[in-house]
Amino acid sequence: MESHELKRIDLIFSNYTTSKYKVLERTLQRDPDEIINELMDSGLKGRGNAGFPTGLKWKFARRNEAETHYVICNANESETGTFKDREILERVPRKVLSGMAICAYCTGARKGIIYLRQEYAYMMEHLQNELNIFHQHVKEFNFDFTVEIFLGSGSYVSGEESAMLDSIEGYRAEPRNKPPYPITKGLFDMPTVVNNVETFATAQVIFRIGAEEYSKLGTPLSPGSKLFTLSGDTPKPGIHELELGMTLQDFVKEFGDNNTKAVQVGGASGYCIPQKLFAETVIGFEGIPTGGSMILFNNSRSMYKVLHEYLRFFTEESCGLCTPCRIGTQQLLKGVEAVKKGERPVSYIDVLIKLALSMKSSAKCGLGQSVANPFISIIDNFKEEILY
């Protein structure tokens, strides 16, 4: 495949200093169905990583005639290697609040909640000030909508939308059975839209520039741009807004250190892509999607250590509710340690792969299901490093 230079996009963080909620004011004059149609036309899919079409989510919530609706902004950003939501909330919170307000306008919600992870408590004062300004504006627009912050207490799985609802209600953040999905039966059993911070900010961008303009970026299956958070062995760590649909080869050419042997796309729950697959791997919903996390590893890194760290992470963060995830994460960790030490035969790896696959099909939520992603992709591509 020929190589392309990556185009830098600047939509999320730009056009802000003069922002006085003009986009919100303008959008609140429009017909809700028309707004939702524009969002669907833009092709925006959830920027947290799950990739559900945002317009469709809003449409389903709008259809529900329940008296009370909620809008929740998922700011429990805990995926390893991800820090975009923190930057968005620090630098352009009004875009997020505009997105939430427009969602509320379309779905009939009067109350919004930002679920802020405890690690970001340092910005509480900043956000509270922003909320005060926001509330003044919506009042001037004659729109009845208030947002409050719910501070998390430290848990990765709280980022799973139904677990987040339980957490807000005062329980352990354990995922619910689905269906019903939150858009049907969410917070306090009321229809609830849960979107990621970046999704709300991107919605604001779409209502500013229009769906047509926005969907010119990216590819037909992954329209638009998104924020990528880079860390690991890269001379350019930080946040970069890029079009979706790039190949990993172009990405590494731009951001690698000329010695990149693998990239972990999507954090601990994502996939490890080795150098030999860079050219054919597309970053987007037609290939490997990511919530933004891109961790680069160069030739000095032990992939056994990488795998071990991911498994330790999952073992610690598994909520313990379902057996495949609770026991599976522990057995995978013990298993790779035993093979490495020679306490188990090399063939035991195949047993572990079977276990990971059964977790993928039987765990209750995305956390347990996704453990197989790093496990199998690292073992498939770096077997020697894992075994010996």
Binding site: T80, T82, G154, S155, G232, I239
Partner: protein
């Protein structure tokens, strides 16, 4: 009335005792007392009409709601992959040696606790550390110790 009881009663008087107040109330206690004592959890259960097991079960799920005593300042060193790649282990051993405590322990003057945390969200500026809510990034071992010494003076 004990200090803990007063704290709980004041919170409930202000915010009510519906179930969704449980986590904010527990956070509030941790903020004042650094951790959730058995007395605090039992008292919360009584005041909110829940079983102590329910309160403990909920609290112990979350990493910031400690049910073991913690110091005034909780040092959280990020241990995830990006920080691991930037030598967080060296910082951990330097801090541990400096305070003469291991991970999970608290100094005898009850000033510092040392814990390892999962991703703090500063991977591009690894390695990262939090002391209570304050964030420090691009650490080196001497820099981390200097910061801790500044807290020591507080």
């Amino acid at each position: 009335m004990s200090e803990t009881k007063t704290l709980i009663q004041e919170y409930i008087a202000l915010n009510g005792k519906s179930r969704n107040q449980l986590l904010p109330l527990l956070q509030n206690i941790v903020q004042h007392q650094n951790y959730l004592s058995e007395e605090a959890m039992t008292e919360v259960a009584r005041a909110m009409g829940l079983s102590p097991a329910d309160v403990y079960g909920t609290a112990s799920f979350y990493s910031y709601l400690s049910t073991v005593p913690r110091g005034k300042y909780v040092i959280r060193l990020c241990r995830n992959i990006s920080c691991m790649m930037k030598s967080q282990a060296e910082i951990l051993s330097a801090v541990s040696a400096h305070l003469k405590i291991k991970v999970g322990e608290t100094t005898s003057d009850k000033k510092f606790s040392l814990v390892q945390a999962n991703c703090l969200g500063w991977c591009h500026k690894a390695p990262a550390m939090m002391i209570n809510n304050e964030v420090f990034t691009e650490l080196t071992a001497p820099k981390a110790i200097q910061i801790i010494n500044e807290y020591q003076q507080k």
